[in-house]
Symmetry: C2
Subunit: 338 residues, 2 copies
């Protein structure tokens, strides 16, 4: 937080901006960076035994965040949503490219906090910037992160391959992020302060399940894998589509946080929102019946709760059974981008 930081990006200029804000995102000691930020492209070395994972995700002002959101949290989230994609493939994340479009009137202080968030998250997960792009924007702030990871040859997890009879598992708890968003928008009543803080925290700082993803890939124990970004039912639908199968999920088995449980007790209708809301960034995966014990052991060893919520069946639909055994109708769309 230097005193001489200028007020807006326009007054700083592009190249000082790169020097002051983006070059410090380099983390020493990450393997494989032959040449990082500062040339026309990064030069990266992929070990002979490994395959490369690459994914891109975006946070757009007015869609995913507002100008008044905490930029320190936003910087962390920009990496975490991408880390979650690498986790869902069973990879170890390592490098990222950052492409931002920023209006000239963006306060430098905003960028300082945003990059502080990137740095904090990079240090936590051991990922370093290797390049990027900075451009003006005539409208809002846009943040695109390309994340890389490594996975052993032929070990990458995928959405496809779920078999009839596979048990469906999910990590952590489901629905907190969508409830956190509703709480922030004032659309939930009677929520106590601690619960509100907890739910919003889950929205702002999702926990990518990197360690479990790596363990699952190493153990070759799972088949259909995805991270819950679009919503539990929608993402389970993606697994079903990629695998050519259907799924049956029991509402009563879906793991909820204490905060979510208290809300649902008061308003059971919220369960629909929990089933269709996105952005939890938990791992959703299917397991052959014989490997269920091993997956439970892995979860315990890593300290990540894993909960069985249903089963892969023949067909192509995601069937959700309520507490009474009746089918629940869930809006299939999940998170809608348009």
């Amino acid at each position: 937080m230097k005193e001489e930081i200028a007020t807006t990006l326009a007054s700083v200029g592009e190249f000082p901006l790169i020097r002051e804000f983006f070059q410090p995102l380099r983390l020493e000691g990450v393997a494989g960076v032959v040449a990082g930020i500062g040339d026309d492209a990064a030069v990266l070395a992929v070990p002979r035994t490994q395959q490369l994972l690459a994914t891109v995700d975006a946070l757009i002002e007015g869609i995913h965040f507002s100008a008044t959101d905490d930029p320190f949290l936003l910087g962390q989230k920009a990496l975490r949503v991408n880390l979650s994609d690498i986790a869902a493939m069973g990879g170890r994340p390592n490098w990222y490219l950052l492409s931002v479009g920023l209006p000239g009137d963006t306060p430098s202080q905003w960028l300082a906090e945003f990059t502080r968030g990137l740095r904090a998250c990079g240090e936590r997960y051991g990922v370093t910037i290797v390049g990027g792009n900075t451009t003006g924007s005539s409208s809002g702030r846009t943040i695109h992160v390309t994340m890389f990871g490594l996975v052993g040859q032929g070990r990458a997890l995928s959405r496809g391959g779920a078999e009839v009879g596979d048990r469906i598992f999910v990590t952590g708890t489901v629905g907190d992020a969508t409830l956190g968003l509703a709480a922030r928008q004032g659309r939930l009543t009677g929520l106590d302060e601690a619960d509100q803080r907890y739910l919003e925290g889950r929205l702002d700082l999702p926990e990518p399940q990197v360690a479990l993803g790596v363990a699952l890939a190493d153990a070759a124990a799972v088949r259909g894998v995805i991270d819950v970004s679009d919503g539990l039912v929608a993402d389970l639908g993606h697994i079903c589509e990629a695998s050519g199968k259907g799924a049956r999920v029991e509402v009563g088995r879906i793991p909820l946080s204490e905060a979510a449980r208290r809300l649902v007790l008061r308003d059971p209708g919220l369960m629909r929102r929990i089933l269709s809301g996105g952005e939890d960034y938990e791992l959703l995966f299917t397991v052959a019946p014989g490997a269920v014990g091993m997956v439970r052991t892995l979860g315990e060893r890593i300290g990540v709760p894993v909960t069985e919520i249903g089963e892969i069946v023949a067909g192509s639909e995601v069937e959700v059974l309520g507490l009474d055994g009746e089918r629940v109708v869930v809006e299939q769309g999940g998170w809608r981008h348009f």
Copy 2:
């Protein structure tokens, strides 16, 4: 151009959008794509003898293009500016990720034409989509492309390493894109129709110098290399900064197209704009005196004109000498993003 294409993206929805517009961007037969578009991340195989190049660039509505620009050309340009970065590193481009933010009221026809441009360019240069991200946008259209390439171990070109006495070369002709932009904006007078079309064509469809970049890397004949995106003087400045050297360039040796030459004859003041204007996407590089002949031969073999325009000198400045041998003052900023 199917008749049933809906009018706007909002009415199509995200997943049909991906199926209809983005999945067809897959090109068969590109090596190394273990799993492409359609999972949480792409899985890519980098051959043992190669290193990976990765770069990202963005085109933002209101900054780099307007809503009325031809989307077919825009799709091509979105890849070409990134291909140029891979060329400047001496790499063979192969894969890309596409991340777009599009307002819901974007006409489907626009996206159809835009992706047709991507496809045409992908086929021409042998690069395939391997993944991406589609999101709404509350403001303009934004296009971020992450481009990958491969280069032999330790063979990547870089901006640094220019030595005093190195000759400075540039491919093709300089300044056409900036004159094309000025022409389109009605800021050039007395331009005939053919010249206007030529200059605007150079702005809309830059020619990334991929073949020459690969040949230069294979020949290990050059040291400081960059593509001219910010402007000739600004990009030469980047080489100088990375190499800890200065440069001297002679205006009289700078290669101009016939159209640019005619304009400069009428208004010699345009030379300043040519020196500082960006987006030519030619290669600018320095060559040890003993390798000049080899570089000329490479250019002839590949069919790319290469022109010697000056010399690397001690110091840290880019000195531009006019026709009279006097120093010309050029706005150092080049392309300003803010």
